[in-house]
């Protein structure tokens, strides 16, 4: 299939394509810095409470499904791999590769979200959703409830970022289909890649903190 070379669309405020690429890259990294601080607030809250109530947190953590969590971790790391390959395909000008790998990333992302949904459903049935119906017998229920509040807040916020990422992947795949990217211009794919890797890295921190307390 003939390679379709995209046009390096130069926005009017930039003087040359290099400036545009550098600006986009710096912009995305700055945005990711804000995201680190955003998630960081919740991590701080989590760490403070875990240090205050280690026993309740360990007991609560054991109710998380470590198998599903591990599968999900593998799925997400795999999706980062497919995303890297998508960016590489764009860099090499391979339109089919771009679309294929973006689709694979999307599929893996959706698998992650589905498994997460299954986990949430389990928690609902086990009466582990904080609020009126919460029940916990293995330790102080109030402090276990804090664990679950933070669990839902943190994984929920993470999932929300993944949903946004999924939407961006669909958009990017459309643009790839229309041949907008080429070795001369593939910045948007690269930026999406950075975003997706960041979402992956957040999970790399969430998983051990939430799922692996006291499991030797």
């Amino acid at each position: 299939m003939a390679e379709i070379h995209g046009t390096a669309a130069l926005a009017h405020q930039f003087d040359d394509p290099e400036q545009q690429v550098e600006a986009s890259t710096l912009g995305m990294w700055t945005f990711l810095a804000t995201e680190i601080l955003f998630f960081g607030g919740m991590f701080v809250a989590y760490i403070v409470y875990r240090m205050s109530y280690p026993q309740a947190f360990a007991a609560a953590s054991h109710h998380l499904d470590i198998i599903l969590g591990t599968i999900n971790t593998g799925v997400l790391i795999g999706s980062s791999l497919t995303m890297v390959l998508a960016v590489y395909s764009a860099q090499m000008g391979r339109r089919r590769g771009q679309i294929l790998f973006l689709a694979a990333t999307l599929v893996l992302g959706l698998i992650f979200l589905s498994i997460k949904g299954v986990e949430y459903q389990h928690k609902f049935h086990e009466h582990l959703v904080p609020g009126a119906g919460f029940q916990f017998i293995d330790a102080d229920p109030r402090h276990a409830a804090i664990f679950f509040s933070l669990y839902f807040a943190m994984t929920g916020m993470h999932a929300f970022h993944m949903v946004i990422g999924a939407g961006l992947i669909i958009w990017m795949a459309r643009r790839a289909w229309r041949g907008e990217f080429s070795p001369a211009y593939y910045t948007p794919v690269e930026m999406l890649g950075l975003y997706w890797h960041f979402v992956d890295v957040v999970w790399i921190f969430l998983f051990p903190l939430l799922y692996l307390i006291g499991r030797h």
């Binding site: 926005a11 405020q13 400036q19 804000t34 955003f38 960081g40 607030g41 409830a145 804090i146 807040a153």
Partner: protein, 545 residues
Amino acid sequence: MSVVAERTVASQARPPRRHYLNVNYGVRSWLLTVDHKRIALLYLVSITLFFFLGGAAAVLFRLELLTPRADLFEAETYNKLFTLHGLVMIFFFLIPSIPAVLGNFLVPLMIGARDLAFPKLNLLSWYVFIIGGLFTLTAAIMGGVDTGWTFYTPYSSTYSNSYVALTVTGAFITGFSSILTGLNFIVTIHKMRAPGMTWLRLPLFIWSHYATSLIMVLGTPVLAISLVLVALERLFQLGIFDPRLGGDPVLFQHLFWFYSHPAVYIMILPAMGVVSEIVPCFSRKRIFGYTFIAFSSIAIAVLGFFVWGHHLFVSSQSVYAGLVFSFLSMLVAIPSAIKVFNWTATLYKGSIVYRTPLFYALGFIGLFTIGGLTGIFVATLPIDVHVHDTYFIVAHFHYIMVGGAIMGYLGGLHFWWPKITGRLYPEGWARFSALIIFVGFNLTFFPQFILGYLGMPRRYAAYPDEFQVLNVMSSAGASILGIGYLIPLIYFFWSMRYGPYAGANPWDARGLEWTTASPPPTDNFEYKPQVSQSAYAYDEEQKVG
């Protein structure tokens, strides 16, 4: 070209045929603009409306405070009024003010660029600001919120019967406006400087906006997540901050102040940047200590992230933490002191021209000095134990926010008004209102230092009789201050139609923004500027490559 007198010869100063204001007309051309200059004006209109809303709330509660009894409003209404005042003034006026109006307008011009790095993100930031504002206004109209702008838990998360979740959602949304603006400035300043515009040739206005942007980008997300957690707790009875559910109310205070302390530097650094532009221009000489002022802006931004615990000295925070935060808070005062001395030294052996922007800048220097010095008072632990949550604190931050930031904003508005509109404002009325503002401000807030040390707590609708005289003085000052703020509103409007044409550089200032027409064309410059001079080269003619 010498500094012009009040009236300019009209024909020499006529604006170009096409500029950013008349390049197209109609509501759509404004609401869908990506021109940073038009977006700056969209912000100008919005924040002015919010300013008068927040000011109206203040007028109302200062009326209540004329008498010791809570006899004008119900206690709950009073509480909602001071909450509205704080929320609107901080999130919808002060934080955007200079960066979103003057910064948006001037950053590309000052560095020789055609626009910011991400013009569409810039427009998005205004829409996000408006949407957040609408959420908060809706909450206010539906009945408002009575938690104070600080939303301390568990009162806000569990006990208050007001529209907390709706209001914090509004504040959360507006935070993104700040983040987008900061992100845009950082990338623009790094990547879009004209040839020859090295970091050490940048105007200090740019340095201070860069430092401000660092804070906006790194601090605001922490406020965002704190507000999300409060909203979640309120809506789903989670127990993160509620002690009855095992939570820690003081954790909220830490998360909240981790942002809200750096936020105060978001509010003052841009004003310091404005002063750094005005003083050299009207002294007709280079600024004293350029590098020191530039790096002290960065120092303030960095150090500002490490002092939040000084809001928690009596919160049950440990004594050790108190000592650390007190020490660091002392350090953060030093870069500000350095700036004040450098500005003062710039006046030495200058050739000083008396114009309104300079009066505002000098007012800033004086009042910020008072406000900043009282910061040392409250960083001193036993003093803060006594004056925390009293009117001493209220006076301290108003000296900085109003005596400092707002005077900086007004000074900047007057200084760059000719560039923005192509017209001159009336100098006589401008000086008059500056004087009214200065007098009204001091009468409002100086008595509050005394009230605070006497022990009058803040957020009180009623107070012991012996505090009345000082409260009456303060309320009288507030009415004068209010009038002072209304006058510029009138003459700025007037000037847009009847003000004399200003010409490209009515002040004979240095800086790339003065080398292009007033008002500037949409793409800012006819030719890409080439920079070969350092900033504030008042001893040379302005060179444009």
